[in-house]
Amino acid sequence: MSDHTTEPSQAVSKEDTVYWSANVRIITICLVIWALVSFGFGIFLRPLLSWIEVGGTDLGFWFAQQGSILVFLALIFFYAWRMNKLDRQYGVDEE
């Protein structure tokens, strides 16, 4: 079994740094949406959305019980698709 390094140590290229900051930006956007639908629409902003009716109740209730889960799903698949594209763009995808 090898020790700490899992592959031959390589100098950090500028490309890799740009790739990483692009990744962090995508993650940040996704997490803002993640928080908005659950903590926002589902909890704190529910009173503001109470005028929008959904099947016998209001939009906030729907977000808390189902909507946020659907958005979570969309976020994970979007991230996987976007990152796999970014990997190829920067040539860091798996061979």
């Binding site: 079994m1 090898s2 700490h4 390094t5 899992t6 592959e7 140590s9 390589q10 950090v12 890799d16 790739y19 990483w20 990744n23 962090v24 993650i27 996704c30 997490l31 993640w34 659950s38 903590f39 589902g42 909890i43 704190f44 529910r46 959904v54 099947g55 016998g56 109740t57 209001d58 209730f61 729907w62 808390a64 019980q65 189902q66 946020s68 889960i69 659907l70 979570f72 799903l73 976020l75 994970i76 698949f77 991230y79 996987a80 990152m83 796999n84 990997d87 040539g91 860091v92 995808d93 798996e94 061979e95």
Partner: protein, 594 residues
């Protein structure tokens, strides 16, 4: 054919299937035992992760928690799914790239510290063991109810089955068994829900039925709100509790989910980094199938139950004691009364059972006028809701047999995943990592199997003699995972500056403060009466002890960053390691290093 035979056929057939899979997928190497040889397709892995994650708590308890509280318990729905976003974006791809077998191994390597690895092992063991006790208790209950054997016999049968496929198959056997268990549990959960949704709303999709109209044209949720408020209960869709604590509890469940080692280690089993990203999405697809149905199950069951007690409407006469005894529609009540989880008593001897909220002032007036002497449905345990649901709705016998098999599948699949996390922490992190680093692969595999067998024995013993605190310890498991494991993993990937001293200090502060906060509210070591505070009136603001995991995580982050800044930067090779983890390229090489 009677119900008992049907239950036996369904449970027996599902067990035969699991054992057949175990024989077929026997693990031959440590890589197969710990990570299924990294050959699992992302969709397969997603399905196995879903079964691994959805425990007796998701299958049996969650819909009941929502049914009797309503909107405020949406926290479980958002919390237990939102954690997958954190996993997919912040942990899974990087840990897969790292290419080792266990969570403590990453923490030990990244923070170049055996102490850090040991702290991670301790957190992992405490979190996993407390969690597994609950699963084994669930196995005992399900057996006791459906196969009419006593708890102990039921548990022993369950333990033998888990032993068969987890000890021999390792991660490989567990993964394929979990795929089968997922299929059993999801059909067991959704089929009765579809029947009930059709009965109440005519919509075959329960998740949509929840927001549809009932036969009378009134939306289901409006009708439910009306009927429960008529009886003095809180309106189902309204918010009643403390908003700040609700958000914090949701966040704690999310972070805890992303920090539970038996879930994280599933992402070590896929072939590539890109597969790890997809796999988290597939896991959530399969989880969402149950989680989108759960709120519908909860609301519909609450409506059905309330209407059974008030067959003539909430203004009319309550159900007669005689009807409960004789009408086959009420057979489920006698069955569940035997388990001690359901109870009623005709307090005012009027021959009827009045079910209402006797704390509501309006109801007290009505009760005084009508001669009621308090709520006569004296005991209704939340946990029976899902299991009793098909009987309450008078569904055919085979549906009830299927639900029995489903409940067992949910508990067994999670138990197996946890046992695997425990055995790999013992054999790989403790024995190979600390005690006997020169152990051969064969020796390590044998150690892993012995550790697994020992863990099953301990879990079975604790399942038969559950410590009185089993229920509270779930909060502890999530608190520990959130306050210690998640922050260490995330900082290990996203910061190059956090060093060994910082990480160890952060984990210890998060861990200790969280444990103390839980003990202050639930009693020291959960001994009743030794608590100084109560969750109804907590120490800090409105933060209940179950919601403290998120605060513990924040303390972990803050401590680790402050301490790291004032101590030495990590060595160059560690910074290179972080760089390499961040980039998918070369994941095959990382794995080949074994």
């Amino acid at each position: 054919m009677d119900q008992f035979t049907l239950n036996l056929i369904f449970v027996g057939a599902s067990f035969a299937l699991y054992i057949g899979i175990a024989v077929w997928a026997r693990a031959g190497s440590t890589s197969e035992f710990y990570a299924a040889g990294r050959g699992i397709h992302p969709v397969t892995n997603g399905m196995a992760t879903a079964a691994d994650w959805m425990s007796a708590a998701s299958f049996i308890s969650m819909a009941g928690l929502i049914a009797f509280t309503g909107y405020d318990n949406s926290t479980y729905l958002m919390g237990w799914t939102g954690g997958y976003v954190l996993l997919a974006l912040l942990l899974a791809p990087y840990l897969r790239k790292f290419g080792k077998f266990t969570v403590p191994e990453f923490i030990g390597d990244r923070f170049y510290s055996p102490t850090a690895r040991l702290v991670a092992v301790v957190s992992l063991l405490v979190a996993s063991i407390t969690y597994v006790i609950g699963q084994m208790t669930g196995v005992g209950v399900a057996f006791g109810r459906f196969l009419e054997v006593d708890n102990t016999t039921g548990l022993l049968i369950g333990a033998v089955v888990v032993f068969a496929y987890a000890v021999f198959g390792g991660m490989k056997g567990v993964t394929y068994t979990q795929v089968a268990q997922y299929c059993v549990l999801i059909s067991a959960y959704t089929i009765p829900a579809i029947f009930i949704s059709l009965q109440l709303t005519g919509n075959p999709v329960p998740a949509l039925g929840l927001f549809s109209d009932t036969a009378s044209g009134v939306p289901l949720l409006e009708k439910l709100n009306q009927i429960v408020t008529d009886l003095g209960f809180n309106a189902y869709t309204e918010h009643h509790g403390d908003t700040f604590n609700m958000a914090l509890f949701t966040l704690s469940l999310m972070i805890g989910t992303a920090g539970l080692p038996h879930v994280i280690m599933r992402f070590f089993t896929v072939p590539k980094v890109s597969d790890a990203r997809w796999s988290a999405g597939w896991a959530l697809v399969f989880i969402a199938l149950l989680y989108l149905t759960a709120p519908a199950v909860g609301a519909m069951a609450r409506l059905n139950i309330t209407e059974q007690f008030w067959p003539n409407g909430t203004d009319g006469e309550a159900v007669a004691v005689e009807t409960i005894a004789e009408d086959p529609e009420y057979d489920w009540m006698a069955t569940w009364q035997q388990t001690g989880l359901l109870g009623w008593e005709d307090k005012n001897n009027d021959g009827r059972i009045q079910y209402y909220n006797d704390n509501a002032p309006a109801m007290q007036e009505r009760a005084a006028a009508a001669g009621w002497e308090g709520n006569e449905l004296t005991n209704f345990n939340n946990d029976i809701l899902v299991l009793a649901n098909p009987e309450i709705a008078n569904l055919p016998g085979w549906v009830i047999g299927l639900v029995a098999a489903g409940g067992l599948a949910a508990a067994l699949s999670t138990a197996a995943g946890l046992l695997l996390a425990i055995s790999s922490a013992v054999s790989h992190d403790l024995v190979k990592g600390r005690i006997a680093p020169s152990i051969s692969e064969k020796g390590e595999l044998l150690t892993a199997r012995i550790a697994m067998a020992a863990a099953i024995a301990v879990a079975t013993y604790l399942g038969i003699n559950p410590p009185g605190f089993a229920a509270q310890t779930v909060a502890l498991a999530f608190g520990l995972a959130a306050a210690s494991i998640f922050p260490a993993l995330m900082m290990g990937i996203f910061s190059k500056r956090v060093n060994n001293t910082g990480a160890v200090a952060g984990m210890l502060v998060g861990l200790i403060v969280t444990v103390i906060y839980i003990f202050l509210h639930k009693g020291w070591f959960f001994i009743p009466g030794t608590n100084s505070f109560d969750d109804a009136d907590p120490l800090l603001f409105t933060i209940k002890s179950t919601s403290f995991g998120a605060v513990g995580a924040a303390l972990n982050f803050a401590t680790a960053i402050l301490v790291s800044r004032s101590t030495q930067e990590p060595p160059q090779e560690i910074q290179d390691l972080v760089e390499s983890v961040r980039i998918p390229r070369g994941s095959a090489a990382a794995t080949a290093a074994h």
